[in-house]
């Protein structure tokens, strides 16, 4: 028998937990405040005044738009590749038993378990060994490699819940393999794939370490930000871009959460 009385938490624990969450959120809230500051040269707190001026300036900056478009394009293509490869891999691992299954899981997780700089430098030296010039596709190649794991994790968790008898019933009723996939498997794993795809998009959209090695002269939005952090040109524009990036990454995360919250494993738990 459980005796889970609904006790309330000790005061010390409440304070520690609240302080911890505040520590996590206050810096992000400050980004929102600084996007409106009138101060241009320094990071003065409190801001001497508030203005919307810098939103207009940022809107008219072609370099910001170029970086944003490149990021969106890279993230879309990388997500598409990761969706196909991650789903295939998840289907193989969860629906069949074969020698070396553990190795496959390790292979998928490795690009994200090892520090990004190792993935980056390995790809860069491979490109230079093979005489591949930097291009849009070299960035995509790197991003897709570490995005596979998020799609894979979500798909594997969902495949585990799709009962094998459903698939057998479909086959017994005369559907062929493709029909079963189209009408039985896909509707069952659809939301998990959507969630995995959104997380993969967010991961790629935000990635900077691997991109510094595989991008050459091209600037994705994170690379643009990194440049601004190392050699600041117009701080208020950076403030505005930072705020927009926060908002843009929140949306897919919230969507992925609502898509998978009834699942046994919630998306993003294994970033």
């Amino acid at each position: 028998m459980r005796s889970d009385r609904s006790t309330s938490a000790p005061l010390g624990l409440k304070i520690a937990a609240a302080a911890g969450l505040a520590f996590l959120h206050i810096p992000i809230l400050l980004i929102f405040l600084y996007a409106f500051t009138t101060e241009e040269k320094s990071y003065q707190f409190p801001p001497p005044g508030l203005t919307l001026h810098w939103f207009a300036v940022t809107w008219n900056r072609p370099d910001v738009w170029e970086a944003l478009m490149l990021s969106v394009k890279v993230a879309s293509v990388a997500t598409a590749v990761a969706l196909v490869l991650g789903t295939l891999c998840a289907a193989a691992v969860s629906q069949t038993r074969f020698f070396g299954r553990e190795t496959i899981s390790l292979l998928v997780i490795l690009p994200i378990a090892l520090p990004g700089i190792i993935t980056g430098i390995a790809l860069r030296s491979a490109f230079s060994l093979a005489d591949i010039p930097f291009s849009f596709w070299t960035i995509v190649l790197g991003h897709a490699t570490f995005c596979i794991v998020v799609v894979y994790n979500n798909a594997v968790a969902r495949f585990r819940r799709v009962s094998g008898s459903l698939i057998e019933a479909s086959m017994d009723l005369g559907a062929d393999g493709f029909q079963t996939f189209r009408h039985i498997i896909l509707p069952n794993i659809g939301t998990a794939l959507l969630a995995g795809g959104m997380l993969a998009f967010a991961l790629s959209f935000d990635e900077v370490i691997v991109t510094t090695f595989t991008g050459g002269q091209q600037a994705t939005l994170p690379i643009w930000m990194l440049e601004e952090l190392i050699r600041p040109r117009q701080r208020p524009v950076t403030n505005v871009v930072a705020m927009v990036v926060v908002l843009v990454t929140f949306l897919p995360i919230l969507a992925a959460y609502y898509l998978t919250r009834d699942g046994d494993q919630i998306a993003g738990g294994g970033k």
Partner: protein, 321 residues
């Protein structure tokens, strides 16, 4: 006798082959599950095997080459010279500094993450559980660079920390801290203290979820039994809660440790000029053009993480992931 009865039934239950190319293909895959497995596994394994593992191995091989000191060209002969260079004092300093930082960051992350994870696992119910979950996920997934940028705003000399200390009339305390050797500096944003705070901030969320997962499995009865038997809260924590949460802490520490070990952007933007492993790799492959030494440097985190993962596996940390 039985054979004679079952035969007509068997004959009926075997359907004619499906018409069309798609149908035939479907039948073929059904009869040959190995081919199906090959079709499913082929593309991802080829992608990861060739692009990822291939590049990784190519990199590791290069660590056994050396660079010619005069021409600056890579000498493609098998040698341990690069590894001897790696063990030079200056490079060992970098390794020790990075590992120390990773260890301290891991310990502090665990201390900050534990109360959040414990509250979320044991006391948060219904709506609050969702709020806690999103409260952890949103900072975890927020842009890495934006988080660093936020701390640049906070730690700057004219930023919010200095302002807060001034309001509290505690500036002398901040100045005294910055005057300390090693961890101090001109301002927080160019000191080890700053690097440390940002590392903890950026990687700590990765610690919360595994600890929470481990604590979710701890029955409330155990805590009550401990206090019924006369255990003080401190004793309960020491002898019941902590040992049960340990696999979760170890699982989380894999992330905090590995991520700190390989990072080169945080110490570059917020920190002193002394290098960490990641920065050394970046400098060696970039400006110095010494790919063999850069490759040898990357072997250090790989080996450390290999040992770490092996130890973690023995402690059962993977069940808490």
């Amino acid at each position: 006798m039985t054979a004679a009865v079952t035969q007509p039934i068997a004959a009926q239950s075997i359907l004619p082959s499906r018409p069309g190319l798609g149908g035939r293909l479907s039948d073929f895959l059904w009869k040959n599950p190995h081919v199906l497995l090959l079709v499913l596994l082929g593309p991802p394994v080829l992608w990861l095997g060739i692009i990822y593992v291939g590049s990784l191995l190519a990199l590791l091989v290069q660590s056994f080459f050396s660079i010619d000191d005069f021409s600056g060209l890579i000498n493609y002969e098998f040698t341990f010279a690069t590894y001897r260079q790696l063990l030079a004092d200056a490079n060992l300093d970098i390794i020790v500094r990075t590992v120390t930082m990773a260890a301290v960051v891991t310990v502090f992350s665990a201390v900050i993450a534990f109360p959040i994870a414990y509250y979320a696992a044991r006391y948060a119910k219904g709506k609050w559980k969702a709020i806690f979950y999103l409260g952890i996920m949103l900072p975890l997934w927020s842009s890495y660079l934006v988080k660093i940028y936020a701390w640049k705003l906070i730690l700057a000399k004219e930023g919010i920390i200095t302002w807060a200390f001034a309001k509290l009339h505690l500036l002398w305390l901040l100045d005294a801290w910055l005057a300390l050797p090693v961890i101090g500096g001109n301002s927080l944003s160019v000191s080890y203290t700053g690097t440390f705070i940002v590392f903890v901030y950026v990687w700590m969320p990765f610690m919360i979820l595994p600890i929470q997962a481990a604590l979710e499995r701890v029955h409330g009865n155990l805590i009550e039994a401990s206090s019924d038997l006369g255990g003080t809260p401190a004793q309960t924590f020491r002898h019941v809660l902590f040992p049960l949460a340990l696999p979760g802490i170890v699982a989380g520490s894999i992330f905090t440790f590995s991520l700190t070990l390989g990072d080169y952007i945080i110490p570059q933007i917020i920190g002193s000029s002394r290098l960490f492993i990641g920065q050394a790799v970046y400098a060696q492959q970039g400006t110095a053009g010494n790919i063999p030494l850069a490759a040898a440097f990357t072997v250090v985190p790989i080996v450390i993480m290999g040992l770490y993962l092996w130890a973690a596996k023995r402690m059962g940390a993977f069940d808490a992931l």
